[in-house]
Symmetry: C2
């Protein structure tokens, strides 16, 4: 039997795939050649997880990969209705991003509590100005999204003494259901968005929800830009409904140079990098090789995405 | 018996002392009147802990307060040889600053790991530039100073998954002695100075010790400026012996406008505020009232400073 064809959608060199030499016929595609090559591939590795080309190129009927893996936590960039309806298995990079993102959220929460952006601004003016800052221990966080990333965020915030509630799609032990959301938002010092974009979450942070939050609250988005109605967030910060926000994800990325978010006082903008720590590409490469070994030997894959829900169902 | 005279060295209004009305004759002094009033006071409360007036005004012989309390963790601003040699008891504000300082250190460690100062600088230029940042879990910290503040810092860093060694004046279970310091410094990603200024610690962070550290290491000082040879630190950062520093304390405060530290790339300067969270003045006032109640009823005081060592001996 010839080795299976592994098609890689890539925009840059891949680490670690050398270990598959001889065990797979590795081909590469870019956005323009993807549609022509997809029917001949057994496996598709979406290494360029910023590309939405899979949605456009996925074959409606006929030959197609039996397995698609994306080197990302989110799957919204590839899940078109035809792929969702097919018997092709989709897996994601669960396990790589949780810890880094949790640290990023903790860092931003502490930076806000300790007024670090203003400390840096005063330093540029060589101004010595003592201020009283906030403790984080004893404050309250509400983390929206109870998948691996939300749970990791909650664990790290709790380690800092922050009373943290987790909100998921349905109530279960340790997780609140959507029915508790508004009450939790109204008492939270820190609101963290860590959910995938689904029908239930798209646009959930709108004017009404920002209006429920405390004027002292900060909003942190490490989920997806689509969770937020951006104009409502701009208004909420500008009119002091909330104290500020740290945004790592946006409806359109890169964030447009003329976006008002760049200069909104109290808002920290970062370029979708909260999960990307030194070595992450190696880790993503190794993770795919391990999954390939399961697949090639006929064993069940892990990190299998529920294509209807749009994420890996978990605990 | 008339109520004891409580002399307060203050530069601003004091909270919570109203609870002592009728139980103490409360008098106030400023730096110029302190010397004349000290001989008539039973208790001295050093509320203005930025003042060094007690060192100058302390009576050599003759009547003097039996108890001095300072609303600070450090006692270096008041411990003159005459006070150290006398039978006057000195107490400090142990218990108020540990948690806030530990959070501050964690915040700066995460800010460095996540490259937050650069994120804020890029944001000012509306520049979207993805970078890979560092995980803190699995890195190594060396905390110098095994008093309550050092221990609290170590606890918080460990909660973030950082392997943390504590270095004190002598080796004991859970704490390294000075003989391990250079080895620990040479492997640390984060070096935290949280010691009081004593004969053993003054100037301990000199060119040799910065030379031992890794080029990727960051130095955080929440102890006292005197622990550091400032010119050596400037050179170490400028010549990339270490990656950067967060400094909350300085040999001379406020930091002079012409100090090179203000503009040194990789250095964060803050105005001696790491321990000062909202409500801290109330907390310091309540703590003194509690100590006063012990003292007035003849019970043993807590937070008693070993005047020879310059700190409250502990675990």
């Amino acid at each position: 039997m010839p080795p299976p064809t592994l098609l890689v959608l890539d925009a840059e060199p891949l680490p670690r795939l050398g270990r598959l030499t001889g065990r797979a016929r590795i081909e590469h595609a870019d956005e323009s050649s993807l549609a022509a090559r997809l029917p001949h591939a057994d496996v598709l590795l979406v290494w360029d997880f910023t590309s939405h080309a899979v949605r456009r190129a996925w074959p409606g009927e006929g030959p197609r990969p039996r397995w698609v893996h994306t080197a990302s936590a989110g799957v919204d960039h590839l899940l078109c209705p035809e792929l969702a309806a097919s018997d092709t298995v989709v897996t994601n990079a669960r396990g790589v991003f949780e810890g880094p993102i949790a640290e990023y959220v903790a860092g931003l929460v502490l930076a806000f509590a300790k007024d670090l952006p203003r400390t840096l601004a005063l330093q540029r003016e060589r101004t010595w100005l003592h201020r009283e800052t906030r403790r984080v221990a004893g404050t309250r966080a509400c983390v929206v999204g109870s998948g691996p990333i939300g749970r990791a965020v909650a664990g790290t915030l709790r380690a800092l003494g922050i009373t943290t509630a987790l909100v998921g799609r349905t109530a279960r032990p340790g997780t609140h259901g959507p029915e508790d959301l508004d009450r939790l938002l109204s008492r939270a010092d820190w609101v963290v968005a860590a959910a995938p974009p689904t029908e239930a979450t798209r646009g959930m942070f709108d004017a009404r929800r920002f209006g429920v939050m405390q004027p002292s609250a900060h909003f942190v988005n490490v989920g997806r830009g689509e969770l937020v109605v951006e104009e409502a967030l701009v208004r909420a910060v500008r009119e002091r409904w909330i104290a500020g926000a740290a945004l790592d994800v946006f409806a359109a990325e890169p964030l447009a140079p003329d976006s008002p978010l760049w200069e909104l006082p109290g808002v920290v903008v970062s370029p979708h990098m909260s999960g990307d720590t030194v070595g992450w590409r190696d880790e993503l490469g190794s993770q795919f090789v391990e999954l390939f070994e399961l697949w090639a030997s006929g064993r069940p894959l892990v990190n299998v995405v529920d294509k209807r829900r749009g994420y890996v169902p978990g605990h």
